[in-house]
Chain length 342, copies 2
Amino acid sequence: MRRQLSAGLLLALAATAAAADEDDIVLRGMGSFHVGGRVIEISGRPVTEIVRVPGGPPSTLDPNGRYQVEQMYVQYFLPKNRRGRLPLLMWHGGGLTGATYETTPDGREGWLNMFVRNGWDVYVSDAVERGRSGFASPDVWKGEPVFITQTDPFERFRIGAGVGSFDRDPAKRKPLPGTQFPLEAYENFTKQIVPRWLTTDDAVLAAYIALVDRVCPCVLLTHSQGGPFGFKAAQARPDKVKAVVAVEPASAGNVDKAAALKDSPVLMVFGDYVDQDSRWVSYRKTDLGYAAAIRTAGGSVDVISLPDIGIKGNSHMMMMDRNNSVIADVIQKWLVGKQLVD
Amino acid sequence: MRRQLSAGLLLALAATAAAADEDDIVLRGMGSFHVGGRVIEISGRPVTEIVRVPGGPPSTLDPNGRYQVEQMYVQYFLPKNRRGRLPLLMWHGGGLTGATYETTPDGREGWLNMFVRNGWDVYVSDAVERGRSGFASPDVWKGEPVFITQTDPFERFRIGAGVGSFDRDPAKRKPLPGTQFPLEAYENFTKQIVPRWLTTDDAVLAAYIALVDRVCPCVLLTHSQGGPFGFKAAQARPDKVKAVVAVEPASAGNVDKAAALKDSPVLMVFGDYVDQDSRWVSYRKTDLGYAAAIRTAGGSVDVISLPDIGIKGNSHMMMMDRNNSVIADVIQKWLVGKQLVD
C-alpha cells in the first residue's frame, strides 16, 4: 500500500518536474498591447491607385481620413513565481527599441529574461515612433527622422575611445581598454538601431504616462533617453511610480518638479569612462543636479558609479555588456533593499 | 512513517505544481535576434549639430558613413514540451508587424501563445522596414512610405461590408453579417498598423531567406502579404521549408517555379465573404493558379474555405477573430496530418 502510494506520487512528481526544470522560464501569462495615442484627420489630398503586392490587383489609396497615431507597443511576461511586488517597466534609449533588453547581440540572455527569472512581471515597451509602435506621417511630426551610422554608437556609447575610434575594419577599431561590450557582435548590435525623430518628446511622454496609468503602481527601469521620460512620468504620477532605476540617464527630469519624487526612491547607475567623455560628463552633471533636488525635498537617490564598486569597463549599453548579469544583480539588490521584492 | 513520507512528497509536489500549472507557459528558452541586411555607405552630406534630448548638450550629427539596413527582427519562444517536429515561423501581412500573432486587440490570446502551448518552437518576425526591424532612409528605398487610415482595413479586410462601411461613429459602421472580428476593439487593432513601402519586396524576401537559412528546416505560417514572401522563400529553399500554411495569401509565388514546392505540402486557408470582394477574388484566383501549378508538379496543396467546413464570419484578420482558437485547431490538425507533430 505504501509502495503503491509512493510510486503513484513519484510518477506525478516526475511528470510535473519534466514540465519545469530549474533553467526553464515558467510564465503564468505573456502577451502584448498598444496603449495611448490619438486619432488625427487628414483631408484634401489626392486619391491614387497603387499595387500593394507585385502581380496583385490595383487598389485605391485614399490618404484622406482618420489615422491612429502616437500609440505605444508593450509586451509583457508574467512569471509564475512572482517575487517582485510591483510590475517592472523597462524603457529603452534613443534610436533603439525594447529589443535592448532582450537577447544580447552576442546571443546571451538579456535583462528581460534575468528579471523575469528573478520573479518580476516585466513590461518592455517600444517608445512612440519606434519599433512596433509605428510612426506617423510628416503631417503629424515636424522634421525628418535621424538615421544613425554604425560609427555613431561606437564612438558615443563609450564602446570605442571617442571620436575616431571606429573603423570599418574591426581589427582597426580602438575600443576603450577592458571594455565589457561584446566587440565581436558590434555589427549585430547595429541591427537593433532604428531611426528617431527629434520633435516627438511630448508624444513619447504622453504614451508612457498612459502606460503608467494602465499597469502601475510599478517600478521603472530606464536607459539613456528613457531616463528623462521616466523621471517626467514619475513627476506626473508620483503615486504610481514607486521607484526608478535609471541606467545612465541622458538628462533628467525638471529640477523644479523634483520634489514629486520624494517618496519614490531612485537609483542612478553609471558605467566606466564617464569622466573621459564630455557629453557624458554633461549628462551626469544634469542627473546629479536633479538628484540633489530630490534629496533636498526629502527624497532618496542612490548613485552608483560601477567602477567605484569594482565593476570596470562598462559601456553605455551595459545591459548587453559581457557582465550584464553582474549589473542586474546590483540593481536587484537595490530593489531588495527598498523592500520591493518578496 | 508513512504519514511523514506522504507529507514530504506532497510538499514537494505542491512546490513543483506551483512552478507549473496546466495553464502556465513553460519555456526552455525565449529570446530575439536580427538577421540579414547589408551595410551601405553615404558620403558628401553636410554635418550638423543637434540636441538629442531637451536640455542636453549639442552633439554632432554626421550623416556620412556606414549604415546597417534591411535587417529583420525575430523573437522566439521555445516550449518545454516540444511537440512540433520543426520550428514554426509566423510571417505577418502588409502594414503590420509580428504583433499580429500576439494578444488580440480585445485582449485574448493569439496564435503565438496557442501554438507555443501546442508545443511548437515559434519564431515571430517583423518584416524588413517594419516594427523592430527598423527602416532605411530615402537614400536606400525609393518612394515614401504609405500611411494607412482607420477606414482602410475595415473596408479591405472584410470586417466591414466593403467601401463605405466604415464610419467614425462605431454605431454607424456596417460590419459584414456575423463577423467574427471583435468590433469593439477595432480602434485598438488600428494601433498595430505601421507604415509600409511599396518598393522593398526584394529586401524583405532576402531577409526572410536569411532567416530560413538560420533556423530551418521549418514550417512557415504566413498571412496576406506574407503569403507571396513565404512561397518565394520556399521556392528558393525547398529543402528547408518543409510545409507552408498560407492564411489568405495576398498573391502567390511564381507559377514557373511552383515545382520547387513539390515535396513541401501547402495549406491555404480562406475566411468568409471572399466571393463578395473583387480584390480577394482576384488574389484567390492567383493563389489557386499557383496551387494548381504545384499539384501539376506532383506536390500537395489543400485549400480550406472556412465557410465550407461550417466556420462562418471570418475576416482577413482571422488570427484575432473571436473564434481564432477554432482556426488554430484547423491548422494544427492539418499539421498533425502531415506528420509534423510528435
